[in-house]
Symmetry: C2
Subunit: 387 residues, 2 copies
Amino acid sequence: MINPNEALNLIQGLIVPQNVQKIAIQDALGLILAEDLRADRDFPPFNRAMMDGIAIKNIALNKWLIEDIAFAGEPQKQLSHSNSAIEIMTGAPIPKDCNSIIKIEDIVFFELAGEKWAEYVGKDLLNPGQFVHAQASDCKQNDLILSSGTKIGPVEIAIAATIGKSELSVFEKPGIAIFSTGDEIVAIHEKPEAHQIRSSNSAMLEAALRSHGFSPTVAHMKDEKSVVEQSLESALAIHEILLLSGGVSAGKKDFIPEVLEKLGFKPIFHKIAQKPGKPLYVGNRADGKLVFAFPGNPISTLTCFWIYFLPWVLGNRLILSTIAVGNLPLSNPKLDQWLPVKINGEQAETLKNNGSGDLIHWKFADGLVWQKAGSTDQSLPFFPLRP
Amino acid sequence: MINPNEALNLIQGLIVPQNVQKIAIQDALGLILAEDLRADRDFPPFNRAMMDGIAIKNIALNKWLIEDIAFAGEPQKQLSHSNSAIEIMTGAPIPKDCNSIIKIEDIVFFELAGEKWAEYVGKDLLNPGQFVHAQASDCKQNDLILSSGTKIGPVEIAIAATIGKSELSVFEKPGIAIFSTGDEIVAIHEKPEAHQIRSSNSAMLEAALRSHGFSPTVAHMKDEKSVVEQSLESALAIHEILLLSGGVSAGKKDFIPEVLEKLGFKPIFHKIAQKPGKPLYVGNRADGKLVFAFPGNPISTLTCFWIYFLPWVLGNRLILSTIAVGNLPLSNPKLDQWLPVKINGEQAETLKNNGSGDLIHWKFADGLVWQKAGSTDQSLPFFPLRP
């Protein structure tokens, strides 16, 4: 049986199945770019004023006659006399024959014989070229500015907009089918019999995936081998990834691994030395489709999904901060444990609970800490549960 | 002029305008619950097997005749003879007259005279009640299990599903209207003249908000007072928050604060001692509506949005980790600085750039570090820019 670190490494080695798709730029944040983007012109496209103030040519003076005013959005102006100045706003093209900007805070305007003048009242020496964002200083026309494979953050969105890309080619999110199993399960809107319970895993998985922009389908399967086989086969025709909950442990109806084998899947691993979530099964097949089959207890499904599946499918590594933990139980000698904790100032406190079937006590948890088998550490990796 | 810490504190004191709305449970992750939820029955609703194995009454024995089998999803069974056992699967109700479970790993089954027997081969002493998740041990029927005001994480989704809430009352996300200003700006799909540039701030703001489940409207306004006033007034009739970019600095057409005053807004603050983003304006009015007016340079808008607006509107505090920074420039004596950095192993390196109008060099940034005015610290708070 492998440990959680080995499982995380094996999963990191799996390729998220993705096709290329064209989407609106407004929906692209967090996705991976699937095309190279080149500058459609120089950036900045013109010598651009970085400050509100005056544009000048002769920096040896300390007073200039104002001969015009240049607003952003107007075509470039022209300085008529080399000793005068043009008032200018941030974002406007620097007038022809000007080369420097003096910012408005360093100027006093005054009138003389019906004409407007500016006097320099700043403390610093004037530098030729100051506050001019020079044409092509950020990049030249045709430069490669974003490569295929780049993760699209806010800066990438702004760059793509700047060069006129209202649509982007991206690697689309894989299609995911969620299946719950277990004959004790009824749907959320149904009234359960005494021996039944409502489905909670599917709702949790669906909500988490939707909040990250996926559009999963959700269904329940009866605990019958033929039903399970048929359901999974149909789902695989249109989805890249199956998420299952239940049916992977040691019970008489736990035939998920057997059915998956029949459908051509090979386990990457089955079972991790951890609690909760020991029976986790991860498998793939030759066409690149993948299955994550979570143990059915709600806390087991939740832990396996948030630790092993979600970071991977989002293209990230699992990143955990470290936190000091109070009232830690003794570690288990053989199994790593994921313990629910409440944050209390700089510290975390472990929470009492009735095991992996107990949702109710977990509502007090701010996150999970990871206590390794046999460890005596009092500071542990922390995973937040409130997104 | 206030500093960034003072600005963050003032913003934290503002109430995010929210109405109550009923939504599907699958869309509720990350929102705030607006109703109390009570248990519709005991949890667990019956004494529930926590392991696959056998259910017994007499733990003094070490061999038991198997008289039946209990699957999850079947009505409760009844033990006929106090010395025998019923095979049982995780999730099944514990049979009447049984009180303990022995897990399958600790059992060997054998046949004797045509009947099936189980023998205990485990090492530990058997405890009465073991592996029974007792009815009502998590909570009792009618107990308050989630209070109004709770942030909905994955556990809350699962709990709500368990008690049959396919819809939840939540505080809905506020309606947001995004406006860009600046006569030099044309739309993404337009071809700019030499002195014009394409809108990039609106696309960035829209993408960021949509990735968090908001549905903002987007528009551009000409730099004319009457146009701006009319546009903002119409938007305020149906939106709770306005996000503006441009028009808040010292230029001749920077009349946004003046128009906002006319519309009944009072500034919470205008200007922060920081670079980029010094002219940031935040204001509100008596009916609870709010305006964040960002300076128009792309990096200024981006910094102000991600640091001041987004954490607040999501109901979070800005949380920054600390990172050691290489090749830090000298700090500015008067202004806090947000510097773009690239992560290199455990360290961050500051990136060269041409100021807050330079999007292109910022594409190399993994995030921003916050260098306080006059600081000589080499380890700085870090904000990641790749979600």
